[in-house]
């Protein structure tokens, strides 16, 4: 390996690294000699878990005092790069905060960013990133052509999370220089939307509904079916935008990436925006009345039919089985 050091911006929820953060740390191990993580808030509490997946050091930006992470975390990373102790590449999860940090870091270092990365390989010390384009029909490979740390924003579930059995990572403080007005936004309250059943991006079965449901009230069919299959209920962007279901249900480019054992797409045509988020599901079942809908091109089983007829019968039959 000829890449010396990669930093992974790791997000910590309730004291534990998110799955995507662990995916990035795991994959970084295959690319570089040393993998270190950057955390904030109560991130230092995750030094054990991050170490178990291969990070040797955790750079802790510390308590942000209600600020959004973008400006302070980018400033801390940029300060390390300027001081000569920075990494050869920074990997960030394609999340709300991850994208904010990447954008600000890009300007601070005057370095371009590659986003929507789904694969990352190393050859002769140069990293190349893979990107799914045209709804995942083609894979594009890109690389940076100038010196300086590469900034890669990586989609969830691009790599497996595999423990290395490493010791807890050493925690070192990473000081964020004052970023002035750029850091003026403050979180004043947090709201958690209640969900029942498994989480959308962890569920073994995902049942998603789209515009083909016709109206908001019909989404109950999706929820019922998801419940009967012990799965999670998802949605296309179209019906999230229409206000039928909260954004947290959205599967796709701007929503969650899912990779369940079975994905059931009901009344979803298969816009590229949606396909990017579910195309790598192990099995795909599509129910749609338009036989030319693009979703059928990725479906292992396609039912050409009206969701208003097929779903109630499916639900009824499953209920009868008990």
């Amino acid at each position: 390996m000829t890449i010396a050091k990669i930093w992974v911006v790791a997000e910590i929820v309730d004291g534990a690294p998110t799955t995507t953060s662990l995916e990035l740390v795991s994959h970084a191990r295959t690319l570089a000699d040393t993998v270190e993580a950057v955390v904030w808030g109560d991130g230092a509490s995750a030094a054990g878990a991050l170490g178990e997946y291969g990070a040797t050091t955790v750079h802790d930006v510390g308590d942000l005092g209600g600020a959004l992470p973008g400006a302070p975390v980018a400033a801390a990373i940029a300060a390390a790069v300027e001081a000569g102790s920075g990494p050869d590449a920074v990997l960030l999860p394609a999340t709300y905060d991850g994208r904010d940090v990447a954008g600000r870091l890009s300007v601070k270092l005057d370095r371009p960013v590659l986003t929507n990365v789904v694969g990352l390989t190393e050859a002769d010390g140069v990293l190349s990133s893979q990107h799914a384009i045209f709804g995942g029909a083609e894979i594009l490979t890109a690389r940076f052509t100038a010196a300086g740390p590469g900034i890669f924003v990586i989609r969830a579930k691009s790599f497996p999370a595999e423990p290395s059995g490493g010791a807890p990572a050493a925690v070192v403080a990473a000081t964020a220089p004052d970023t002035g007005a750029a850091n003026a936004a403050r979180i004043v309250a947090r709201h958690v939307e209640e969900r029942t059943g498994p989480k959308l991006d962890e569920a073994d079965v995902v049942v998603s509904g789209g515009r083909g449901l016709g109206e908001k009230d019909q989404y109950v069919l999706i929820e019922q079916l998801a419940g009967l299959l012990h799965g999670a209920a998802g949605a296309s962007r179209a019906i999230v935008d229409a206000g039928w279901v909260p954004y947290s249900h959205q599967v796709g480019q701007t929503g969650k990436t899912v990779k369940p054992t079975v994905y059931l797409a009901c009344g979803i045509s298969g816009a590229t925006q949606h396909m990017v988020g579910m195309k790598n599901s192990k099995n795909i079942v599509a129910i749609n009345k338009d036989q030319d809908a693009p979703i059928f091109q990725v479906a292992d089983l396609g039912i050409v039919g009206d969701v208003h007829k097929v779903l109630p019968k499916l639900i009824e039959t499953l209920q009868a089985r008990g």
Binding site: G103, R104, S106, P112, R186, A242, T254, I287, G305
Partner: protein
């Protein structure tokens, strides 16, 4: 209150997209339209300016060949004027180069608030608005699903993995809005007619004081080395439902031991 909305004019998403065989970047030479994702920012800006009791909405855009058809759509919705940066030197510009151009153009408008979509529908890099904020030294709040301006600050409901956060931020600031945050109005006939005579300031990279090597393919400092078809999924089974389609779904789920 003066609001700038960053808008992108993109190839019609209904037409099949194509890559330039040389640079492998998206072909954007044909007729361009207003990115649907930007209609929400335009509508939000019009509503916020109205609620503030005055001020103008200015569009800022970068496009090849002096393209204005998408801008006219947003002007017809009610924006007062537009700044368009168009320059052959911009071909192949990446997100950071775009941010440098748009930030320089935004400076000229001296807005209280800058709105943008969370990402474009064609390139969906999703970093340009935050890069603009950093270049301008401004705070940013991304993924807004509700935006309210009170005096000199903006209150945003920002989407999170778990739900949403309430975020308060002093102005000027950059806010990116999600689709569905407001219902974009359809341009009226009167609006469409008025849009034809609204001012569009045309600028080049040199007008903005930006060196040509900061933008274009040179400024992007990245290259596309390969584009190959993704591993295709094996052709699936298609069943036309004649009343029994649900039974085949159950059989399939049983095979997978999900049932």
């Amino acid at each position: 209150m003066n609001v700038v909305v960053c808008v992108k004019q993109i190839p019609d998403p209904a037409a099949p997209p194509a890559l330039d065989p040389g640079s492998k970047t998206l072909v954007r030479d044909g007729k361009l339209i207003l990115d649907d994702s930007d209609a929400y920012g335009v509508e939000m800006a019009l509503q916020l300016a109205d609620a503030a009791g005055g001020g103008e909405v200015t569009l800022v855009s970068m496009a090849p060949n002096g393209e204005v058809s998408g801008l006219r759509t947003a002007l017809a919705m009610g924006a007062a004027k537009a700044i368009l940066v168009s320059d052959p030197a911009l071909a192949g510009t990446d997100a950071l180069g775009t941010a440098k151009v748009l930030a320089a153009a935004i400076r000229r408008a001296e807005p209280d608030l800058i709105l943008a979509a969370t990402e474009s529908s064609d390139g969906y890099t999703g970093t340009t608005p935050v890069q603009i904020a950093e270049l301008l030294g401004l705070p940013s709040v991304t993924f807004a699903k509700k935006v309210e301006v009170t005096g000199s600050s903006v209150k945003v409901e920002r989407q999170t993995e778990a739900g949403y956060d309430e975020v308060e931020c002093p102005l000027p600031a950059v806010v990116t809005v999600t689709a569905g945050v407001v219902e974009p109005r359809y341009p009226s006939f009167k609006g469409i007619m008025a849009a034809k005579s609204k001012p569009v300031e045309n600028l080049t990279v040199a007008d903005l004081g930006i060196d040509a090597d900061q933008v274009g393919a040179t400024g992007a400092r990245q290259e596309i080395t390969e584009v190959v078809p993704a591993e295709a999924r094996a052709a699936g089974e298609i069943v036309v439902d004649e009343g029994e389609g649900h039974l085949r779904v159950i059989e399939f789920l049983e095979q997978l031991k999900v049932l």
